[in-house]
């Protein structure tokens, strides 16, 4: 039977993470459909993903705000036609997928990094310090995908698009407001380069004066450690780690970050890791390809000038 991918999109186009989730789905079945929920516009880009045979699109305001009950009401009945549904393991997917699994009385298979068989998967546990191989005995698989572990499918396809009706229910959770971080820089997840700052920066002003220009110079997204976010130097959305975002860019530059396990969990699969830290024993150096023991105050401007 077919498998369904719940598209991650920005209201206009599907994100690259959807192309990656499709790649995970294709490892389970050759018949992959994509569900675009919320707005209609991203359906076109979803239909172009290689390997996708059909796109379903359901318009609704509650869905565009990722209200879990609305997603559950849409996807649960659809599962009569599918063996599996895959969500991108971001905030929206993690919010909705377990709800659907519970409704269907099946397990949630979270954060998969590898498909090893039609019902077998590998997933990190303990902040990525161990990898668990699991085999499901359920008839329906509800999965979230750690997209950094999968390659993105191309955009040479032309699948058919079918509009479906989102269940018109009233939910006991309602949207009030949102405060989204606006930025012209690349998005953290999916960025080719990331520059992250830690507690060492000491203030929001310093973070913006040091980390942001370096990121701009490199065309990189900006990230941060939990300590930097907790202290208000950077927005919550920038947190990289076990409980923040997981990134795997070509280049990750960690400035004034010690390298706690919880931070490493979010970036240790980056291709090249650079660490700038004044403490030669900082754990970040144990995984850095290029380490510079120096005060960031002089090192970062110097580095920027040498680029």
């Amino acid at each position: 039977m077919a498998v369904l991918v719940y598209a991650d999109h920005d209201g206009v186009n599907v994100k690259d993470s959807t192309n990656k989730a499709v790649s995970a789905a294709l490892a389970i079945s050759s018949d992959v459909h994509v569900l675009v929920a919320g707005s209609v516009a991203p359906a076109k880009s979803a239909a172009s993903i290689d390997g996708v045979s059909k796109v379903l699109v359901a318009k609704s305001d509650a869905l565009s705000k990722d209200i879990a009950e609305a997603v559950e009401a849409l996807v649960t009945p659809l599962m009569a036609n599918y063996d599996a549904v895959l969500f991108v393991a971001g905030a929206a997917g993690k919010n909705a997928a377990p709800r659907i699994a519970a409704k269907l009385d099946v397990a949630i298979i979270s954060d998969i990094i590898e498909v090893t068989g039609p019902k077998s998967f590998v997933r990190p546990i303990y902040a990525g310090n161990a990898l668990e191989s699991v085999e499901s005995s359920d008839g329906k698989l509800i999965i979230t995908v750690r997209t950094t572990a999968f390659k993105a499918e191309g955009n040479g396809g032309a699948a058919s698009i079918e509009e479906i009706v989102a269940p018109n229910a009233t939910h006991s959770a309602t949207f009030v407001s949102e405060a989204m971080v606006k930025s012209d820089r690349p998005e953290l997840q999916g960025a080719k380069r990331v520059v992250s700052g830690g507690r060492a920066l000491g203030s929001e002003e310093e973070f913006n004066a040091v980390i942001v220009p370096l990121a701009d110079r490199l065309g990189a997204a900006v990230g941060a450690s939990r300590a930097a976010v907790d202290a208000g130097y950077a927005p919550n959305d920038y947190q990289v780690g076990q409980t923040g975002k997981v990134v795997a860019p070509e280049l990750y530059v960690a400035v004034g970050i010690s390298g706690a396990i919880q931070h490493l969990a979010g970036m240790k699969d980056s291709k090249t890791i650079v660490a700038i830290n004044k403490d030669p024993d900082a754990p970040i150096f144990q995984i850095a390809d290029f380490g510079l023991v120096a005060d960031y105050k002089t090192a970062v401007p110097e580095f920027q000038n040498s680029l």
Binding site: A68, E69, A91, P98, A102, S110, K271, T272, F285, A299
Partner: protein, 248 residues
């Protein structure tokens, strides 16, 4: 208003986890165990709601080995009123925990369940959402701010891209994120007081819930090791090396 807070006993977050040589799991022998940090934040928030006069009672529940009593005692020392322990030696999946919690909720009838967004062992981030589905309650996950007023909770959530605020009608499930609060350290007098607070201990099997694992763990392995690279002497050398390696 009564708040139920589920808490989990896990390997302390500072401990370096070791995978067992026979690939059956991670080594739990002689390892420091603590309350899951996210559960601590949930307990703290519940206690603060009592201190603010919004809530009247905090009941903590843990499901697991008998030593999970210590985890419950920690919560009681932080200010929770009483505890429930459902004993089980099995490694239970989130769905089973959610079903057992549903049975506890049928008895306790709380107005809100406050719980951690994820446990740092399985890293699933699922139990709260599953419980909400089983109860058909609204959910507000990843909370960084909670305001309760007139039978409703206004919850600010940490989502990709920023913050979202939802309003949920009570009863509801709220799962908490790191920035909701900073949990207190229990004072010595409160630790002493907690020893006298009641913990109701019963066998999970007595709850009338069918417990079945859906995922068979075939092996647990170590992730590939990443080797340390080189140290450079200056920022200029760093830039040169990155160019040489074709990274920039």
């Amino acid at each position: 208003m009564k708040i139920l807070v589920p808490v989990k006993r896990v390997i302390d977050y500072n401990v370096k986890v070791r995978v067992k040589a026979d690939q059956t799991g991670v080594d739990l022998a002689n390892v420091k165990m603590s309350m899951n940090p996210f559960c601590e934040i949930a307990v703290e928030e519940a206690v603060r709601l009592v201190e603010k006069g919004v809530a009247t009672e905090v009941v903590v529940v843990s499901i697991g080995v008998t030593q999970a009593q210590e985890t419950i005692r920690t919560a009681l020392a932080m200010g929770a009123d009483r505890g429930i322990l459902l004993t089980s030696d099995q490694d239970l999946e989130p769905l089973n925990i959610a079903k057992l919690l549903k049975a506890v909720i049928a008895e306790e009838k709380p107005d809100m369940v406050l719980m951690g967004k994820q446990a740092i062992d399985g890293d699933n981030n699922a139990t709260g959402q599953m419980l909400a589905a089983l109860l058909d309650w609204p959910q507000a996950t990843f909370a960084s701010e909670i305001n309760i007023d007139g039978g409703k909770a206004k919850v600010t959530r940490e989502v990709d891209g920023g913050l979202q605020t939802l309003e949920v009608a009570l009863p509801a499930i709220v799962t908490v994120d790191l920035r909701l609060n900073e949990p207190r350290f229990a004072s010595l007098p409160n630790i002493m007081k907690a020893k006298k607070k009641p913990i109701d201990i019963k066998d999970a099997a007595s709850m009338g819930v069918e417990v079945k694992n859906h995922l068979n763990v075939t092996k647990v392995t170590e992730p590939p090791k990443r080797e340390a690279g080189i140290k450079v002497e200056s920022a200029a050398e760093l830039a040169a090396k990155l160019k040489e390696a074709g990274v920039i």
